[in-house]
Amino acid sequence: MTGNAEILQAGFADPVFDSQRAFRTVLGALSEPGLVAELDPALTPPPGLEPATAIALLTLADYETPVWLPPALAAGAAGRWLRFHAGAPLTTTPADSAYAVITAGAEAPELFDFHPGDDQFPDRSTTIFIQCTSLEGGLPVILAGPGIPGSRRFAPQGPVPEFWRAAAANHARYPLGVDCLFTAGRRIAGLPRSTRIETGETR
């Protein structure tokens, strides 16, 4: 099937209320890092995007937010779907992106290749969706910091030890740094730059 003939997946059935509910879930996820929440708006995502990634992108992205997608996704149905429904421009430079999608364990730019914000405007950093096979049962890490009473265990399947080392280094440059949202199916969990990460716990 050629690109033109391909039928585009639908967006939100009810953009106002679907995006409002989705936003509150994402806000809760980023406010309480490592706590897994579920996005409930009905949406069939294009191939390559987890439903949670697609729902959150439709909620947050628009013509003001360049999005970085893996080249295969950007050239395929996912790129067309995002441009059509959100009007978001796609960028090929990770450091130019407001939102980015990577798949845990797959080849992707380093966290440090994305925009960390700058010292006077740390809010200009990239928010990265990290697509996982599951948000449970993986290599556990212990999270602490704002949004976490004491500490919280988080074990998404997909991120490798090198990723957690990069994520810890990302926290070390606080208040700069990227913010991450882990997605699997309809589930989502947040990891803002403010979260301390302790690894090395035996399973």
Binding site: Q20, L27, G147
Partner: protein
């Protein structure tokens, strides 16, 4: 589905919750970055609202960007649910978002506030939205935005400590009683909005999400749940909150923030809880203050409250 609940023919010209969807997305993106960097002021494109800047447009825009049909909204102004600003904002969301409203702190999912934090401890899942007039805690020390931005970027907060020190040197104590500066998550110094310093300790490790909106100054900032919020002080001059020598005249509470109310033109006065819902709840539970009967006789409170 409640999607048409707000569409009563009168408000159909507006989108749900007044703001257009692109504006909501812009505010929502700012809120997420504010949560990721607690205490940092995120610039946002503040919109014209159908009331004057300085009347809570920052808080209203945040509430409009987060509210949905599942929410219950409480609005307070100086702790009271029944003052002009609170009544107007509550009616605004009843009209534009068909919002369910309440005066009960525990029943609310979103509490928009001007100048107080409710006395009843907030719970996980609640969102407290502050209306902020002056978001920059350093502004009166350094008028240039370009400079205060650098001071935040490099955590140069010496000037603020000098201000507190000079206060102590001149008056023997820090004389700031409201909008008392706090350090959030050990990094950013933040203006808690003009809440009395009595309320500062409630922000620390609060289980609710706290969002701050300054409409005129175009800034949004946040304190996520369970985040360290420390009022600035010195080891030999620790931070202290206000205290009163008498209890609330209506409900007898000794642990609440009290407002002074003038009752006649002969110097009569009484102290009452500024949190009106908290005070009413206590009276309904049978707590009586020393001036309740007198207040009922001059119609400051309903007779049955005094019974």
């Amino acid at each position: 589905m409640t999607r048409r609940a707000y569409d009563d023919g009168r408000t159909a010209a507006y989108n749900y919750a007044y703001l257009d969807e692109q504006t909501k997305r812009m505010i929502r993106r700012a809120l997420l970055k504010a949560v990721a960097v607690p205490g940092y002021q995120v610039p946002f494109g503040s919109r014209e609202m159908p009331l004057a800047r300085g009347w809570g447009t920052g808080g209203i825009q945040i509430t409009a960007a987060i509210i949905g049909p599942a929410d219950t909204l409480k609005v307070i102004d100086q702790g009271a649910d029944d003052t002009t600003n609170a009544v107007s904002i509550r009616r605004f969301f009843e009209r534009t978002a068909a919002a369910r409203t309440t005066e009960a702190t525990a029943a609310a999912t979103i509490i928009q506030t001007r100048h107080r934090i409710p006395e009843q401890p907030l719970a996980a899942g609640q969102i407290l939205v502050y209306q902020v007039p002056l978001p920059e805690p350093l502004r009166r020390l350094e008028p240039r935005e370009a400079e205060t931005r650098k001071m935040h970027a490099w955590a140069e907060y010496g000037l603020m400590h000098v201000r507190l020190y000079e206060n102590i040197a001149r008056f023997g104590e820090v004389t700031t009683t409201y909008d008392y500066p706090v350090a959030v998550n050990g990094r950013y110094v933040m203006a808690p909005s003009p809440i009395p310093k009595f309320d500062n300790p409630k922000m620390d490790m609060c289980p609710a999400l706290q969002l701050f909106g300054a409409g005129r100054e175009k800034r949004i900032y946040a304190v996520p749940p369970h985040t360290r919020v420390v009022s600035l002080d010195f080891e030999d001059h620790p931070f202290r909150i206000q205290s009163w020598t008498e209890p609330c005249g209506l409900c007898g509470a000794t642990d609440t923030y009290l407002d002074e109310v003038v009752t006649d033109d002969r110097g009569g006065r009484m102290f009452v809880c500024s949190d009106s819902h908290h005070c009413e709840t206590r009276r309904a539970e049978g707590h009586h203050g020393p001036m309740l009967a007198a207040a009922a006789s001059i119609h400051l409170v309903e007779k049955e409250d005094a019974a």
